[in-house]
């Protein structure tokens, strides 16, 4: 597998754009219930603090702060863009699907219908050392959802 298949354009773009980053400057919407999670990968120092705001069963906002490699940052950015507007159940299901693809070592293909831009991370599944990079914000989101919902 070539490097370009791992670092797809969409990943490189999102690693710079960092949609949803700036947690401390972003107040949660009024009336929403929130949950926040901090995740750290001690191996490489990737770190994400992520907050979800849920309003009437819908993800109203997903904001985060983090430092890490392009895969971890892009993955948080894609997640933030996708999650807003989803129902809590829908987001949980997408997280489950993302995890299944990432942990499959390349055996389970990503369905762009389900995962949208996050399907671009399919190639990460073949790099065992990088799976945690792609998963870190999604694990944080799952944890935050459990507190908020």
């Amino acid at each position: 597998m070539s490097l370009d298949q791992l670092y797809q354009q969409i990943i490189l773009d999102h690693s710079k754009a960092r949609h949803g980053s700036g947690l401390s400057e972003t107040p949660a919407p009024d009336g929403a219930s929130t949950g926040q999670s901090h995740q750290l990968n001690p191996v490489c120092g990737d770190e994400v603090t992520l907050r979800v705001a849920v309003d009437h069963g819908t993800v109203a906002q997903l904001a985060w702060d983090g430092a890490g490699c392009s895969i971890s940052m892009a993955s948080a950015s894609v997640l933030s863009e996708m999650a807003e507007g989803m129902s809590v159940d829908e987001l949980r299901s997408v997280i489950g699907n993302f995890r299944e693809v990432l942990r499959s070592r390349g055996k389970v293909h990503a369905d762009p219908e389900v995962l949208g831009d996050a399907a671009a991370f399919e190639g990460v599944a073949r790099y065992a050392a990088r799976v945690k990079c792609a998963m870190i914000s999604w694990v944080a989101a799952e944890d935050a959802l459990n507190q908020a919902a």
């Binding site: 490489c44 120092g45 490699c69 990088r130």
Partner: protein, 441 residues
């Protein structure tokens, strides 16, 4: 391009290594002969673990094929032979670092060696509190008011065991800070190491900065206040001529797998008068004289610290690794690696956006360089290099406090050994120069 700095202690009489010799050496290392991502493997991660020459692999295999038996027990032929090669290996490794046979203890790795010292010292404190042991043991006991001193550049393995020793005994842990270039602030060291200091632990050569610390000065400081000295020789024993007696340290540790040997074997050197007084760290078979249902008497070192069945084939293989280094000439290896280290740093300094940790080009360092690439995370740098078949280490290299001090969380580290050519370094530099463009940093 390379600035060659030859440490003054090295003999110039020996012919220097060159690329042609390195290519012959490389033939002895089967694992290096492979393609990674379609490119010939360039292995620049020997600071983490080194590769094994055939002679080491064969030594371990030969042991299992011809001599495998438990050592120090059994009167049968194989048991005698196994014991002989096991103890010959100890002598070989002891000679390599200037230690006595009895002062050379097998451990699993350097980390275990450091934990062994840490636990033996807190056991000394426990024994002393209960009136067990003699006056010499009571002198080693630590308690509130005592201080343990480390440095800011330590690997976690030479930091956390001392944090925990301080916790168990009530002693206080202090550290000697570094300057921005990674050198120890020796004037601060002179203030910090004082009459309360009971133990000074520091690395010989930094696994991140590549600096070689002023051992003599630090030992002199410790001696002036009667403190014990623990030397982490993980990054020095494999790469330069180490003489623990000449350095006059009380303890030194290193790992076999960083010096062409197998994993699972390491060495603790300790002055005999200390090892024979210290309580054991682990207890059980093979380390006792008399055992009753109530208590046991312990053998002197090294058996005192070698409870249970030992790492026999690994010890034999480590001796083969030491022989390989001795036959090549450890001083020649040191000179070659210094040249590679200088070539790396000089090259990296010339790449836009790259910041090298530790001493600048032209100043002494071992054959490694850790660096930051502006706008690109170390993990991505490592992945990019891997796509070109180049193996490096990424992360905090088990030195989080050091990285924090330098304002970083993760860096990329290239570390060379006797099987790396200047072409390897040039390929590596060429790859690094393409990193920022690829990630659009």
């Amino acid at each position: 391009m390379a600035v060659v700095s030859t440490p003054p202690t090295l003999s110039r009489a020996l012919p220097a290594m060159d690329n042609a010799e390195v290519l012959r050496i490389r033939n002895d290392f089967p694992v290096l002969d492979q393609l990674v991502n379609g490119r010939p493997l360039i292995y620049l991660d020997s600071g983490a673990t080194s590769q094994n020459p055939l002679s080491v692999i064969e030594a371990e295999q030969e042991f299992y094929e011809q001599r495998n038996a438990a050592v120090h027990r059994g009167a049968h032929h194989l048991a005698v032979e196994a014991t002989e090669v096991f103890e010959d290996a100890r002598q070989t490794v002891a000679d390599f670092v200037g230690a006595q046979f009895e002062e050379t203890v097998w451990t699993s790795n350097a980390t275990e060696g450091l934990n062994l010292i840490s636990y033996a010292l807190s056991n000394a404190s426990l024994w002393a509190a209960q009136g067990r042991g003699d006056a010499r043991l009571r002198e080693l006991a630590l308690g509130p008011g005592d201080e343990i001193v480390v440095t800011e550049m330590e690997h976690h393995a030479n930091l956390i065991p001392w944090q925990e020793l301080a916790y168990r005994t009530g002693a206080t842990l202090r550290h000697i800070p570094i300057d921005d270039s990674g050198l120890l602030l020796m004037d601060r060291a002179a203030e910090i190491v004082g009459e309360r200091t009971r133990l000074l632990a520091f690395t010989h050569a930094s696994n991140v900065l590549g600096t070689i610390n002023p051992v003599a000065e630090l030992v002199a400081l410790a001696r002036s206040v009667g403190a014990l000295v623990v030397l982490d020789a993980c990054q020095s024993a494999p790469h330069l001529s180490l003489d623990v007696k000449q350095l006059d340290v009380d303890f030194a540790v290193f790992s076999g797998h960083k010096m062409l040997g197998p994993t699972g074997i390491g060495v603790l050197y300790g002055k005999q008068e200390l090892l024979d007084v210290l309580p054991p760290y682990q207890t059980g078979g093979s380390m006792i004289t008399t055992v009753t249902m109530e208590r046991a008497e312990y053998l002197p070192a090294p058996q005192r610290f070698e409870a249970g069945t030992q790492k026999i084939s690994q010890a034999v293989a480590l001796a083969a690794a030491v022989n390989y280094l001795t036959e090549t000439g450890i001083d020649r290896v040191h000179r070659w690696e210094s040249e590679l280290g200088q070539r790396m740093v000089a090259g990296l300094e010339g790449i836009d956006g790259v910041r090298v940790l530790g001493p600048a080009a032209g100043q002494d360092r071992i054959g490694l360089a850790a660096f930051d690439v502006a706008g690109v995370h170390a993990h991505d740098v490592g992945q990019f290099l891997d796509s070109r078949g180049i193996a490096v280490r990424v992360g905090h290299h088990c030195a989080q406090p050091l990285h924090r001090r330098l304002g970083l969380t993760a860096t990329t580290r290239a570390s060379a050994y006797l099987y790396n050519t200047t072409d390897d370094v040039d390929e590596f530099l060429d790859a690094v120069s393409g990193v920022r463009a690829y990630f659009r940093a």
